[in-house]
């Protein structure tokens, strides 16, 4: 049975597209046929993060309007043949998406794919609403920072009242927390909310902590999802996220600070 995953946050710039690209690649690399859809009509960026921006011919809105078939619009990833990207339209306004149109495309994708990852735009407008409406699972991407945590909580309220599962009284969407841009050093200094703090406030199941990492910018510069950078901390953290999502029990990493020479000399413990 296919599962629809929405990657959402409310707030912008927290790492939704980075996460969507990473988890879609992670699932596909595990052998599951996966599609990742950009819901940010007018401001598409998933194609850039996935490194397929020059291969976009048709987009999501073309398919909804019947100007192209789904197969024409889906772009097969250059490194993984189990992964397909459905880019957003760059020219139309966000009203181009309709609930009926999105529902039809998702139904069609469900016949062929195991996982469908919906990369939500920021905000709570139509694009964000449609990205989460049909979801089975929600990855809430949160930064350890006040406005992001607040917006995440707002998003949780929307998931539990405005999604299809909520409207039809089905089993609610499974919600998972992904804490990104985490800096254990700053947490230790009392400058940043800790994993425990954020979990206490949001009370969500923690799927993983992605450390603040240079590798994320490096990955986006080159258009390769950061999960493919297996040596990097962020890449490994996303690999853990996938393993946990698929049912493996892995201890959380990257929560404690790395001890440099200075820390070893003066850090105590």
């Amino acid at each position: 049975m296919a599962r629809i995953i929405v990657v959402t946050s409310g707030k912008g710039g927290v790492g939704k597209t980075t996460t969507s690209a990473a988890i879609a690649m992670g699932l596909a690399k595990k052998g599951h046929k996966t599609a990742v859809i950009d819901f940010d009509v007018g401001l598409r960026n998933l194609d850039l993060i996935m490194g397929c921006e020059r291969r976009v011919v048709y987009d999501f809105v073309n398919v909804i309007n019947g100007e192209a078939t789904l197969n024409q619009a889906l772009i097969r990833d250059k490194t993984c043949n189990q992964l397909y990207i459905l880019p957003a339209s760059q020219t139309r306004d966000k009203d181009a998406l309709s609930q009926e149109g999105v529902g039809k495309i998702l139904d069609e994708l469900k016949k062929d794919f195991k996982y469908i990852v919906c990369d939500s735009p920021a905000g709570i407008e139509k694009g964000a609403h449609l990205a989460m409406y049909f979801a089975d699972d929600a990855f809430i991407v949160t930064n350890p920072e006040v406005s992001s945590v607040r917006d995440s909580d707002r998003m949780l309220g929307i998931l539990s009242s405005k999604s299809r599962r909520a409207e039809q009284n089905d089993e609610p969407i499974k919600e998972y927390l992904l804490l990104t841009r985490y800096s254990p050093e700053r947490v230790k200094l009392g400058e940043m909310l800790s994993v425990d703090d954020v979990q206490e406030i949001l009370s969500l199941h923690l799927l993983g902590v992605i450390p603040e990492s240079k590798s994320v910018l490096n990955a986006s510069n080159s258009g390769t999802p950061v999960i493919l950078d297996e040596k990097s901390d962020a890449g490994q953290a996303y690999a853990d996220v996938i393993a946990r999502y698929l049912g493996e029990d892995r201890p959380h990493r990257f929560i404690d600070e790395k001890k440099g020479l200075f820390g070893k000399l003066f850090g105590g413990k």
Partner: protein
Amino acid sequence: MSLLDYFRTSKASSASLAKERLQILVAHERSSRNQPSYLPQLQKELLEVIRKYVNVEQDAISVNFEQNDTQETLELNIVLPEHQTKIS
């Protein structure tokens, strides 16, 4: 405890302040999230009725909706101006 820890703890932590503010805010926003959608309209109409009899300010009335496992409570609070006869 190392020397470094001493300096760390002597500073008031901004993270704990953030946590405290968030806990209050999130609790407040969650409680208003579950309120029935007719509340604002109810508040407006109640105010109109009360103003027929007493000259109260726009913000003199507050309507609170609370929900726990067993019951829902609608709390209505009207502040009457001073030097005015009370409505019994």
